[in-house]
Symmetry: C2
Subunit: 394 residues, 2 copies
């Protein structure tokens, strides 16, 4: 029996989940024990670890990602370079935790997204949509000596999907056993939700980006205070709500009215949007903490309205992850808006709020070995459920 055959036979695997986020801040790692398969998976997060990129690494990555044109060589090299630094990060984590590499069954590596183009474009005789995650999983496998699964988004796009979001499958595994209508909310730069119905019916999962997460707050903090973010919501807490500014935001922002499935990003909530806010605030002499308070409320309200407008079933619980869940002002506003529906943090379900995606890709990798499809047709738009990921055995 080959090593791969033994690995496929296992009912319990220890998997390292790995995620390099689009903000280029660093690598998130999670060591996860997973027993069983599909909805019966039992997930136990053993350890989480973040390795920040150095300033030089961050500049190197952003330079390639944001450049309008580049040499083939740069792309070929960065694909290997990233896998090399990740292999070191994984070894560092294993040394620190004294977890032996031999006890790790595999790595599930999302890779780093360099390009994502979910629209169709005509090339000669074909309609083509594509996505490009780099940080080669075969290089990672060889350098760590651990079988690696990577490149999850590709297959979904090959069958007509958007290649995203992929976390809803993980939310379904996490929450469907509780027989409640659950909203899994992640507040990263952008906020997104998965609705997992009490029935556990995979075809009824709804997931989409609701609008800004920390993106507006963080940019305002940088421009008004030269701080990276509003730690513990301290500035927002000191401020007051300014209805006029809030109304301006509502009229300025066309995204919430779009029907899901939909997604958004920096192209919508980037510097242009923020500069418009600052202009109004200056004209109206709005104190800075009031701006932060109002923007924070706007963020919470867009989440609440998205649920109210697009989720027809009654919601039993909201489970929050992502950096925004560590902002007590947002969390308080969400609880106030959702009223009697409890707003909890994902850690109550064993999922560290900062490592949800890393944990997710450990689970998706595990499901590939279990032979189970992990794209959710109702959210990606794919025309069939298929296996996601490539296996790089060692």
């Amino acid at each position: 029996m080959t090593r791969l055959q033994s690995l496929l036979k296992k009912n319990k695997r220890r998997v390292i989940g790995s995620m390099s986020g689009t903000s280029c801040d660093g690598l998130d790692l999670a060591v996860v024990d997973i027993k069983g398969r599909g909805k019966n998976s039992r997930i136990n997060v053993i350890y989480t670890f973040h390795v920040p990129y150095t300033q030089k690494q961050k500049e190197y990555l952003l330079d390639i990602i944001t450049s309008k044109s580049m040499a083939l060589k740069d792309l070929s090299q960065v694909n290997f370079y990233l896998a090399q630094i990740w292999a070191n990060s994984i070894k560092k984590m294993l040394r620190r935790t004294r977890i032996s590499a031999e006890t790790i069954d595999m790595i599930g590596s999302h890779g780093h997204t360099f390009y994502h183009f979910p629209q169709d474009e005509k090339i000669i005789d074909h309609s083509v949509r594509s996505t490009l995650q780099l940080g080669d999983p075969a290089v990672l496998a060889q350098l760590t000596g651990i079988t690696t699964v990577g490149d999850f988004r590709v297959s979904d796009m090959a069958v007509g999907g958007q290649g995203a979001p992929l976390v809803p499958y993980f939310d379904w595994i996490l929450f469907s056993k509780y027989k409640k209508n659950i909203i899994a909310l992640n507040i990263g730069g952008i906020a997104n939700i998965s609705f997992i119905p009490a029935s556990g019916d995979r075809g009824k999962i709804i997931a989409f980006d609701t609008g800004p997460g920390n993106m507006l707050i963080d940019q305002l903090m940088q421009r008004l205070y030269e701080l990276p973010f509003d730690r513990n919501g301290r500035i927002a807490k000191r401020g007051h709500f300014i209805p006029k500014l809030f109304s301006f935001l509502q009229s300025r922002d066309t995204y919430p009215a779009q029907k899901p499935p939909k997604s958004t990003g920096r192209e919508h909530y980037g510097s242009e949007f923020v500069i418009d806010i600052i202009k109004k605030a200056l004209r109206w002499r709005t104190p800075e903490p009031d701006v932060l308070n109002t923007i924070t409320r706007y963020t919470a309200v867009t989440v609440f309205n998205a649920v109210k407008d697009y989720i027809t079933d009654s919601v039993d619980e909201v489970v929050v992850s992502g950096g925004g869940s560590r902002n007590p002002v947002i969390m308080g506003m969400l609880q106030e808006l959702f009223g009697k529906v409890p707003v909890k943090k994902s850690i109550e379900y064993g999922i560290d709020v900062d490592y949800k995606e890393a944990i997710c890709f450990a689970v998706l990798a595990n499901e590939l070995l279990n032979g189970l499809p992990t794209n959710v047709k109702s959210v990606t738009g794919a025309h069939k459920e298929i296996l996601l990921g490539k296996i790089c055995p060692v």
Copy 2:
């Protein structure tokens, strides 16, 4: 048991090997039945098929490959586009042969090489070498419904190898059972050899590029006759050998004197080299057929000298594949040079001379499923033998 588990358990598999050559002329496909594993593999080629790229497709590919700079999007899109057209080519072949897709166990796809950089370059804090084959194997898997193995070169480079050549493993499987010292010679644009020792000792395999294959002949045919190549060596046959021109070639060409491991390509035997030949021929008023004859002999002699100079064991047989093996003038010259050592075509061993690489990647894919390493350390320079390829299951 999952589909992948069933596939791994099989002792006999029907595999489609797929190769898109650097010349961008089209896709080579081979349907291969393979029984057993490693040196005991029994290989039976059922069908071969070539799908030429259209002029537009060829221009599109060459435009990306040769451009000094490009957008990330172009690269992301071509990776999907190629897999889409290949999926159609495979379906076309299956329809034509009436081989049902269900009888195909998997595809072994080399992909199309967009970049290959086997030297080390320092990036921030790491030495990086890399290779980039596009035509995503997961897209190919989804669109054909057939499990696909691809991306063979990556792992070898991750462990310090050159990622090439990979064919020597296939030559070893093909020839080691005959207990003869065999030279497997492939005459493509460049000519290369694998020496497989009678002992079958994998550590004693020697493989390298010997110099020009058809590259000089083809370029001269294009420049002197506006024909793509010297069909059946007709022009060379009419010409005479010109010692002065031959001596010029020997003094102009520094490659043969380099010690293996070594490789070469268009950067050495390209237009500059050919223009120098034509200049001399004009000055000396050498008739065109004489130029072709002399260049053809030069090609044969560089192969012969490479064997004489760098293979210390006595050679029992030379087995030739590649387009050059269909040129009777080259074949005759080789036989003359090698004297009593028989010079045969690979088809005598069941390997269609035009499809050796396609067949090779069917075999390498099959060995990955067998859990066997397929890089040959002595030829790639890797510091260990490892599994090559990524599995994209359906």
